[in-house]
C-alpha cells in the first residue's frame, strides 16, 4: 500500500532515466577502452623495443604463458591453491573474530583487559610474524592459512565489537522490559543490528586474507600464485611473474564481487 511505486511515469522522468543509463554505459565502455589501450600500448612498446620485453614482459608473451599453463594444468592448480587458502583463512578469521567479539561484548572486564593488546596487534605489521609462524607450524598450507587468518582476525574483532557496542541502548532496554536475559539480548537485537557491519567487514577481510596468503606463499614457497611470483622473480621469468599478477588481480576481483553478492543476498533476506 505504501511501497508500490508510481507506475505512470512522466516523460521528464523517462528522459532522466534514459540520460542516466546513457551516462552509465559511457563509463563502462570507457573503462574497457582504457584497459585495451594499456595492453595495446604495452604490446607496441615491447615490439618496437621502446621497453625491454625481457624485464617488462609483454601481453602476447603473457597470453602464451597463460595458454601453456592452462594446457599443463598448472594455472588451475596454483590459482586453486591460492583461492582455497584465502577462503579458508577468510572464513575462519571471520567466524573466530566474530566469536571473540561476542566474548568481549559479553564481558566488559575481558574487553577492558584485552583492549591495549588489540590496539597493538592491529598496529603491528602482520608480515613480521611470518617467519615465527613458519618456524612454529612448518612450511605447510597450514601456516599460510594462519597468515591469512592473522591478517583478517584483528580487524574483524575490532569492527564487530565496535558495532556491538554501538547497538541502541534503548532497544536493549525495550527487551529488558520484557525480562530478556543477556543471551536473548545478543540474539534478538545486538547480532541482527550488527549484521550490516559484520558484512561490511567481510569486504575488507577478503582482501586482507588474500594479502596474508600471498605473504605466506612468499615464505613457504610450494604452490600458489604467491609462489609463482617469487619463483618467477628468482629465475628472472618476468612473463611468469606478470601472468601471475594478472591472475591474482582477477582472483581478487572475483572474491570481492562474490562477497558483494553475498552481502546483497543477506541484506535482502532481512
Amino acid at each position: 500500500m505504501y511501497d508500490d511505486i508510481n507506475t505512470n511515469i512522466s516523460e521528464e522522468y523517462k528522459k532522466y532515466l534514459k540520460s542516466h543509463r546513457r551516462k552509465k554505459s559511457a563509463i563502462r565502455i570507457s573503462r574497457i577502452i582504457l584497459l585495451i589501450f594499456i595492453f595495446v600500448l604495452w604490446e607496441i612498446a615491447a615490439q618496437k623495443e621502446w621497453i625491454d620485453p625481457f624485464i617488462m614482459s609483454q601481453p602476447s608473451r603473457i597470453l602464451e604463458t597463460l595458454i601453456t599453463m592452462g594446457k599443463d594444468g598448472s594455472l588451475f592448480i596454483h590459482t586453486g591453491v591460492t583461492v582455497y587458502e584465502t577462503i579458508v583463512g577468510f572464513v575462519i578469521g571471520t567466524i573466530l573474530g566474530t566469536l571473540i567479539a561476542i566474548a568481549l561484548w559479553w564481558s566488559d572486564f575481558l574487553a577492558s583487559v584485552l583492549d591495549p593488546y588489540l590496539v597493538v596487534l592491529n598496529a603491528l605489521p602482520k608480515t613480521a610474524l611470518g617467519p615465527i609462524i613458519l618456524v612454529w607450524i612448518g612450511g605447510t598450507t597450514k601456516s599460510i592459512i594462519v597468515m591469512a587468518l592473522l591478517f583478517s582476525i584483528v580487524v574483524t574483532i575490532i569492527n564487530v565489537y565496535t558495532s556491538f557496542r554501538s547497538c541502541d541502548e534503548d532497544k536493549i532496554k525495550l527487551l529488558k522490559t520484557f525480562g530478556a536475559n543477556k543471551k536473548q539480548i545478543l540474539r534478538k537485537v545486538v547480532l541482527p543490528s550488527g549484521i550490516t557491519s559484520i558484512i561490511s567487514t567481510l569486504k575488507i577481510n577478503v582482501g586482507l586474507s588474500l594479502v596474508g596468503v600471498i605473504v605466506g606463499e612468499f615464505l613457504v614457497s610450494k604452490a600458489g600464485l604467491g609462489y609463482l611470483i617469487i619463483y618467477g622473480g628468482q629465475v628472472f621469468k618476468m612473463d611468469l611473474v606478470m601472468t601471475s599478477v594478472i591472475i591474482l588481480a582477477i582472483v581478487a576481483a572475483v572474491l570481492y564481487l562474490s562477497v558483494l553478492w553475498i552481502e546483497k543476498r543477506v541484506l535482502k533476506m532481512m
Binding site: F178, G179, S193
Partner: protein
C-alpha cells in the same frame, strides 16, 4: 478499589565516576486498579527513572515497589513498558515485532498468536502484519508499539512520553485511541508526559513532581464535567483551563 502499585519510601541514586546523582528522594504513592495516572515534572527530575523502578529494570537504592502486593525484584509479565520512541526493529516485520515480548518470555503459543492477530484486526493493522516498520507512518508505528506492549497481557502499563515524537494532530488522535484501548482492556496506566493538556485530558489523577531529586509536589484528582469522557471531549470541559493554570503554576516553568 485495590492498590495495584505501591511505591514505598523509594529513593534512587545513580553512581558514576563523575559523582553521585540523587534522582528520586523518598517517594510514596499508590495507584489503584484501573486508574489512569499521569506524572508531570520538570525536565530531568527523575520521571523515567521512576518508571524504570516500577518496571523492575532498575532497583531502588532504598525503599521498595509493590505490584499487586508483591515486591518487585525484576521485570515481570504483569507490567508493560512503552518507551518514548517506538523502537521497532527494522529487520522484523510488524507481526514479528509485536511478538518479540512473547518470544522472550517463551509464551509464543497458538493462543497468544491468535490474541495478537485479534488485536491487529481490532486496531486496523492486520493488513500490515507482513510489512516492515519503514513502510508505516509515525502514528501507525506507535500503535504497533502499543500492541507489542499489550501482547504479553500486562495489567499495568507504563507509558514514558509515548506520543512526544509525533506531530500535533497525530498525537491527539493516537492519544485518544490509546486511551480508548486501555479503558476497553481495563488496564491500569501510568503516563509520563511533558504535555500538561495531554495529562489533564487523559488522567484520573495527576502527580506533580518537584525538580531533581524528585519528591511529590502535589496530587490532583481530575474531575471534568463532560458527558462522554474521552480525552478529546475532556479538552472542551469548563474545568480544563482551571486545572491547567493551577498545575502550570506549580510546575513553575521559567521561560
Amino acid at each position: 478499589m485495590d492498590k495495584v502499585v505501591e511505591v514505598i519510601d523509594v529513593s534512587m541514586n545513580y553512581h558514576t565516576l563523575e559523582g553521585e546523582t540523587e534522582a528520586i528522594r523518598k517517594l510514596n504513592f499508590d495507584i489503584m486498579n484501573g486508574e489512569f495516572v499521569s506524572i508531570v515534572g520538570p525536565s530531568g527530575c527523575g520521571k523515567s527513572t521512576l518508571l524504570s523502578l516500577i518496571s523492575g529494570i532498575l532497583t531502588p537504592t532504598s525503599g521498595k515497589v509493590l505490584i499487586n502486593g508483591k515486591k518487585v525484584e525484576g521485570p515481570s509479565a504483569s507490567v508493560g513498558y512503552m518507551l518514548q520512541k517506538d523502537h521497532l526493529f527494522e529487520w522484523r516485520n510488524i507481526m514479528k515485532n509485536i511478538t518479540i515480548g512473547l518470544e522472550i518470555q517463551g509464551k509464543l503459543n497458538k493462543e497468544n498468536q491468535e490474541f495478537v492477530e485479534q488485536l491487529l484486526k481490532e486496531y486496523g493493522l492486520y493488513e500490515f502484519r507482513n510489512h516492515y516498520p519503514r513502510q508505516l507512518s509515525g502514528g501507525m508505528r506507535q500503535r504497533v508499539a502499543l500492541i507489542r506492549t499489550l501482547a504479553t497481557k500486562p495489567n499495568i502499563l507504563l507509558l514514558d512520553e509515548p506520543f512526544s515524537a509525533l506531530d500535533y494532530q497525530t498525537k491527539i488522535a493516537i492519544s485518544e485511541e490509546v486511551w480508548l484501548i486501555l479503558k476497553k482492556e481495563k488496564k491500569t496506566a501510568i503516563l509520563v508526559t511533558h504535555d500538561l493538556a495531554e495529562a489533564i485530558s487523559m488522567s484520573d489523577r495527576i502527580i506533580v513532581l518537584t525538580k531533581r531529586p524528585a519528591e511529590i509536589k502535589s496530587m490532583h484528582q481530575i474531575n471534568l464535567s463532560c458527558d462522554c469522557k474521552t480525552p478529546i471531549t475532556c479538552r472542551e470541559a469548563p474545568e480544563f483551563r482551571i486545572y491547567f493554570n493551577k498545575i502550570w503554576k506549580e510546575l513553575d516553568v521559567h521561560v
